[in-house]
Symmetry: C2
Subunit: 794 residues, 2 copies
Amino acid sequence: MSDQTRGYETDPWRLRWRGLAVDQLRRTESTFALGNGHIGIRGTLEEGEPRGLPGTYLNGFYEEHELPYAEAGYGYPEAGQTVVNVTDGKIIRLLVEDEPFDMRYGTATAHDRTLDFRTGTLTRNTEWVSPTGRRVLVRTQRLVSFTQRAVVAIRYEVEPLDGDTQLVLQSDLLANEPIVSDTSDPRVAAALQSPLASEFSFAEDYRAVLVHQTRRSGLRMAAGMDHLIESPDGLRTTIAVEDDLARLTVAVDVPHGKRLQLTKFLAYGWSAQRSIPALRAQVDAALAGAVQTGWDGLLAEQKAFLDDFWATADIQVDGDPELQQATRFALFHILQAGARGESRAIPGKGLTGPGYDGHAFWDTESFVLQVLTYTMPEAARDALRWRHSTLDKARERAAQLGLRGAAFPWRSINGAECSAYWPAGTAAFHVSADIADAVIRYLGATDDEEFERSCGTEILAETARLWMSLGHFDSHNRFRIDGVTGPDEYSAVADNNVYTNLMARRNLHEAAASCTRLPDVAAALEVTEQEIERWRDAAARMYVPYDAERGIHPQSEGFTEHLDWDFAHTPLDDYPLLLHYPYFDLYRRQVVKQADLVLALHLCGDSFSPEEKARNFAYYEARTVRDSSLSAATQAVIAAEVGHLQLAYDYLGEAALTDLHDVHNNVQNGLHMASLAGAWLGFVAGFGGMRDHSGEITFAPRIPSTLDRLEFRMCVRDSRFSVEIYADRATYRLLSGKPVELTHHGMPCTVGTNPVTLSIPSITPGPTPEQPAGRAPSRRNPERLRPAKPLPHP
Amino acid sequence: MSDQTRGYETDPWRLRWRGLAVDQLRRTESTFALGNGHIGIRGTLEEGEPRGLPGTYLNGFYEEHELPYAEAGYGYPEAGQTVVNVTDGKIIRLLVEDEPFDMRYGTATAHDRTLDFRTGTLTRNTEWVSPTGRRVLVRTQRLVSFTQRAVVAIRYEVEPLDGDTQLVLQSDLLANEPIVSDTSDPRVAAALQSPLASEFSFAEDYRAVLVHQTRRSGLRMAAGMDHLIESPDGLRTTIAVEDDLARLTVAVDVPHGKRLQLTKFLAYGWSAQRSIPALRAQVDAALAGAVQTGWDGLLAEQKAFLDDFWATADIQVDGDPELQQATRFALFHILQAGARGESRAIPGKGLTGPGYDGHAFWDTESFVLQVLTYTMPEAARDALRWRHSTLDKARERAAQLGLRGAAFPWRSINGAECSAYWPAGTAAFHVSADIADAVIRYLGATDDEEFERSCGTEILAETARLWMSLGHFDSHNRFRIDGVTGPDEYSAVADNNVYTNLMARRNLHEAAASCTRLPDVAAALEVTEQEIERWRDAAARMYVPYDAERGIHPQSEGFTEHLDWDFAHTPLDDYPLLLHYPYFDLYRRQVVKQADLVLALHLCGDSFSPEEKARNFAYYEARTVRDSSLSAATQAVIAAEVGHLQLAYDYLGEAALTDLHDVHNNVQNGLHMASLAGAWLGFVAGFGGMRDHSGEITFAPRIPSTLDRLEFRMCVRDSRFSVEIYADRATYRLLSGKPVELTHHGMPCTVGTNPVTLSIPSITPGPTPEQPAGRAPSRRNPERLRPAKPLPHP
C-alpha cells in the first residue's frame, strides 16, 4: 500500500494525516500516540468521539486477573497482569450553540493532524460546519512532557468563523471509560471492566483531582487537571466532581474574530505504596510546576530535549523520502517509549496501546535497547535497572523451576511471569541471555562502572548461574542446553538451540569477566573463583551443533532433518500460520516464524565465518515466513552483511513501515517497538554494518544503489560521531567528546578532530536467496519516487 | 500396607471388608462397584449416608463443559466432556421406629460387605443397635445384570432382633444428587452442578420413571424402578414423584422373628436421539423383563454368565493367596468394564468412578483389550467397534491438524478430542497405532473376517494414512516421525520415538496386509496398490534410532544425551514428580514416568534381540519412576522375559494390588483398569511369556521360585486352552475347540486332545537392575504368608 492510501503525507520531520477517516481512527490513535516512557496517551480526538480505542497508560500500572487453565500444571502462573486504561484527561468536549462538536455530524471542511518529531507535539486543525450551519475553527496542540515526566498539556482554541457564537467547553477527567475489546485474538489485551475503584475526588476553581485504586493488584493512581483560560468577557465556569468524573465547564459568547483558548495541564502519578494524600499531593505539585512553567515554557523545554536527541540519534536517508519519514517516526516513538521510564519496563507496544496486555518481552533488550544504548544510553540504563529491580522475582522463578540463578519472565509488567503457555513462559530461557547481552552491550558502549557495580555484575552472574544449572556436560564433554525454546516461535522445547547456546556462551564469558573485574562485587554475590572457572569451562565447551552434510547450522539439534513445510500449497490466507495450523505441526517442521539462527548470525556474528553466514542465511531465508514483526529487521541486517543489498533494503522498508503500513493489521492495539527499532537496526547494523561484539565498535558500510546517501549518528562512551555513507566511500566524523576507535571493513582507525573518509570494498554476493512462496518482502521501489533512475539489477 | 490394615479379608473368590471405616468409604465404593459395561454403580451403602463419593454412570452419557484457556491455540478443543452421575436408584433408606438407620449413629455390632466374583453380587450384613437401643439385622444383595444390560436389582431385608418394631423403607430414584469434588488435582473430574434437567416424571403403584436431559450435550436418560415386597400384614405403601425424586414409602410393624423384604428392580436407558416416550417405554420394558425373570432368575443368569467367563479366563496362583484374590478381583472388574459395553468405550476407570472425567484413553487398547481379546473376544470386538464408530471424528481431527487419515483422541467419551494439553492431545499420535495394534491382535486371535471387513481394514488403512502424512523420508532415505509424544508422559514432542515408530511400522505393514487380503474393501476405501506400496516402503525404511555408544535404544532421538535426573537428591515426597516439577524440566531429562521404550520391548519384542532387551531394560529401569499406574505391569513382563523373576513378581504384585492397596492414593475416583489388566499381563505375558507378534501365539513360561504353580486359561480362534506352569515344566491343555498351534520357548508344538508337557530351560540373567532411589517396587514377600519356605536369593 502506498502512503497515500493510508492518508499519511510524506514529510521528513512530521507525520500528517489530512481528512478524517473514522475507520482508520484506531490505527492513527496508535501512530499519533504521545508518551514519555512514564505516561502514554493515544491519539484520540479531544472531543472523545468518534474514537477507535481510547487509552491512557501509566508505565507499570496494571491490574491482575486470573489465568484459567483447563489442565493446570506445576509452575503455571496463576495471575496475569494487564495494562489499565487509566483516568482519561485529554477529553475536552465542545458545544457550538446547542450542537455538540462531533465530526460524524455536520461537515469538516478542513481537518488535519500532525505529529511533529522536532517539537514533540500533536497538533490538529479542524474547520467544522455544524448540522445547523455554524462554522468554527478548532485548533489543538498537545504534548506529553519529556522534561516534566508527570505532565501532559493541551492547548485548545476555538474560533467562530461566522458571527457571535455561544461556546461551551467541558474539560474532563474520566475514569473507567468503557472500552470494547476483541479477545478472540490471543495477541490483544484481556478485557477489564471498571478496573478502578474511586478513593478520593476533589474539585475547586479550575482544578480537580481523582484518586483510584485497582481492585485486585491494589495499585493506586491519581490524576489531576488545572486550566488557564483566555476568552472574551462574560466567561462562566463551573467545576463538578463525582467518583469517576471531574468536569470543568466553560461557557462564553465569542464574537466573530475572537476566540476561546483553554490550556489544560494534566498530572499523573501512581504508587503501590503511597497513601491517598501523598498521591494527591504529588499530582498537585506536578500541576503547580507545569502551570509555573506555562504552555510556552513546556513547548520550549520539549523542543530543546528533542534537539538534543536528534543531535545524537538522527538518521538521514537521501533518495527515499518515505523511508526518511518512517525512520524518524520510528526513532521518535522509541524515544517516547524509553525516555523517562525511570526504572520501569519498556513494553512491546510502548505506551501506545493495550496490545500484549502491556507486557514487556525480550524484544526490548534485543531490539529496542540496541537503539537506545547508542542514542540515549541513560534510557537503556534505566530499562536495565528495571530488570535488575525484578531480580528477586527472577530468582524465585528459577527456584520454582528447580534452577539456580535468575530466570527472567517471557512476558510481564511487574517482573513476575505472566505467560500461560509454558513452552514460551517456562522454556524460552534465551530471555535471560538477551538481558545479559543488553547489559554487556550497555557496558561496552558506556564503561558505566557505577551501573556495573550496582546492577550489571549481578545480572550477569545470576544469569550465568541459570545456564550452569540448565545445561550439563554430556558424554562427549560438550556443554549441552536441552529442551529450550529459542526465539523462533514455530519451534519449541528443542535441544541445543544455536542462538541460545551462543548467547549463553557470551553470558558465561562476560559474567566471568565482570566478576574478575569487580572482585568485591563478586564476593558480595558469593561468586567464587571456582565458580568463575566453571563458567569459563562451560563457555569453552559449549556445544554448537553443525550440519556438515548441508554446510549449515541447524536452528536446534536435528532441525535440518525435519520435514520442510509445503509452502507451495499453503494458501496466502493461511498466514500467520499459527492461526491456521496446530503447534505440533509447526514445531516439527522446518518452518521459521522469525529470525532465530539468523539472529545468531547478527548478535553472535563473531561465531560464524562469512561463508557460513551466507549459506545459513540462504538456507533460513527459504524457510522463514516472517509471521512475527521481530524478523524483517534481522533479515535486513544479515542480507546486507552477505551482500544482498536490495533484499536488505526491502526488509528494512518492511520493518520501518510495519506500523505506518499496518503490515500485520494490528496497529490499532499499539505500535511495534521492536519493528520501529528495526528501522535503526537496518540502517546502522545493516547498511552501516555496525557490530559491537566484545565491546569493540566495527563498521562495514555498504548502501544499495537505490540510495544516494545515508548518514547516521551515534554516541559511544560519551563521544558523539556520525557515519556518512555513499556508494563508494564512508566518512566518519567526531561530533563531540574524545576521539573514537573503530573499525571500517576490518581496518582499525581513530576518528578525532578530522573526519576520516575511507573507501568501501566491493562485494560479490551469491545468488539472491529465495523466500517461501508468497512471503518475499515487497520490493522497495524508490523509482516510484525518483523516476529518473534505472532499476538496479537484482 | 498389608491387606489387614485396609480391612480386606483374603479369599480366593471374594472381596470382603469387615467392619465400617467411614474414612475408607470412598475407596471401598470403588472396589465394591458393580457394573456391566453399560451401567456402573459405586458401592455406596443403600441408605445413602455415610458415603464417600456416590456415583451411578451410564457408559457414553456425558455432559459438555467449556475448556478455558488463558492463551488459546489453533486446534485446541473448545468443549470438554465429563461423565454424569445419573439418577441414583440404589437408595433405600430405613427408619427403625423413629430412628433413621445411619451407621454413624448407634452401634453396628456386626457389619460386613462382600463382593463375590462367582455370583457377581455385592452382599451386606449389618447388625445395628439404634441410639435408643433397637436392634435390627439388615441384609442386602445387589447386582448389575450381565444378561439384562439395562437392569440393576437389589434385595433388601430387615429383621427386628428385639421385638415388634415399626419399620419404614423409602426407596428412591434421586437425580442431581449433590456431590463434592476436589478439582485442584488435574486427574479428578470436572465438577458438574445439577447437570440434569427434568423432562418427565411418573409414579404409580410400586413403579416410577424419571426422564432427564443434560443441559448442554443434550443427551436424554431415563431411570425406572419397580418393587416386590414381602412383609407381614399391615403393610402401607405410598409412591410420590417430583422432578428429581421418585419415592416408594413402605411402612409396616414387623413382629419379632419376622422380616420385611424389598426387591427393587432398576432399569436405565439413554439416547442422543430417542424421544421422552421412547426412552420411558424402554425402561418400562426392561423393568417388565426383570420382574418377569425375578430375583432368583437374575441371580441364576448372573452365575451362569460368570461360570462361563471363569471357564475361559481364570488364573490360578498357588503360593500367594493375596495375589490370587487380587487377580480374580482384577479379572472380575475388567469383565464388569467391558462385558456389555456394546460399541461404547471402556473408560480408564471403567464405570467405577468419575476419575479422568470418565474418559477413555489408549490404555484400553494397549492393556485392557489384551486381556479381553484372549478371555472375552466379543467384548474386545465391541470396544473396537466403538473406535470404528468414531472414525469420522478421528478423520475430522486429522484434517484439522493438517493430516490425512484418522487421528484418534487422547481422551474422549464420544470420540472427539477432549485434551486441553496439546502435547498430549495433539502430539501423542501413538494412540492411533495402539488402536491399530488392538485390531491386529484381535484379528490374529479370532480370524473374525466379518469384523475385518466392516471395521478392521478401515481402521488400519486410515491410521496407516495418518503415519504417511505425519512422517517423511529424510536425506538418508529413512522414514522419520518427528515431533510426537510417546507413552512416557515425562517426555513430549520428540523426534523418532522408538515405540511410536515401531508401532507405526506394524500399523503400516498390517494395513497393507489387510488391504491385500480384502481388495474389495480396500477399493471401497480408495486404497490403491501404489498406496499399499508406499505403506510397505515406509514400514521397511522406518527409522529406529539406536545409541551404539551405550548399546541401547534411546526412547526418542537424542534422549540418551539428556541430563539424568538427580534421583539421589529428590525427596520421596516429591513423587509424583509432575506435581512438583515443571514440564520443561521433566521433558529435557532422562526421567521416565512410565514404560515407553520398555513397552516397545513388550509389544514389539520381535524388533529387539534378547541382549538388547536386557540392556535396554536395565538402562530404563534406572530411569523409570512409575508415577503412572501404566508402568508396573509392563516392567513385570520384561523383567520376566530377561530373567529377573523376583523383580517381575514385585512389579506384578504392584500392578495387581494398585487398587486394593491404593498405591496411588486415588482409588476413590475409580479403579485403574489398565493396572487391573496388568495383573493378567504379568501372569500371562510375564510368567507365561505369551506373545502374539504377527498373530502367532508363543509362550516362554517361567515362574519365580516363590510360587508353586500358575495356571491360566485363554481362548484363541474359538479354542480354549490352559497353561499350567511349575518351576521346571509347563503343561498345555486344550479345553474346547480345535487343536492349537503354539510355541514353547521357541519350540513349535500342537496342543490337541492330549495335554503337552514341556520342560522349561534355565536362564542366567545379568545383575538385577536398579531403580531410582526409593522407587524400587515393594519386595513381594510371600514368606509372610508361607513362613515354612526360605527366602530365595535375589
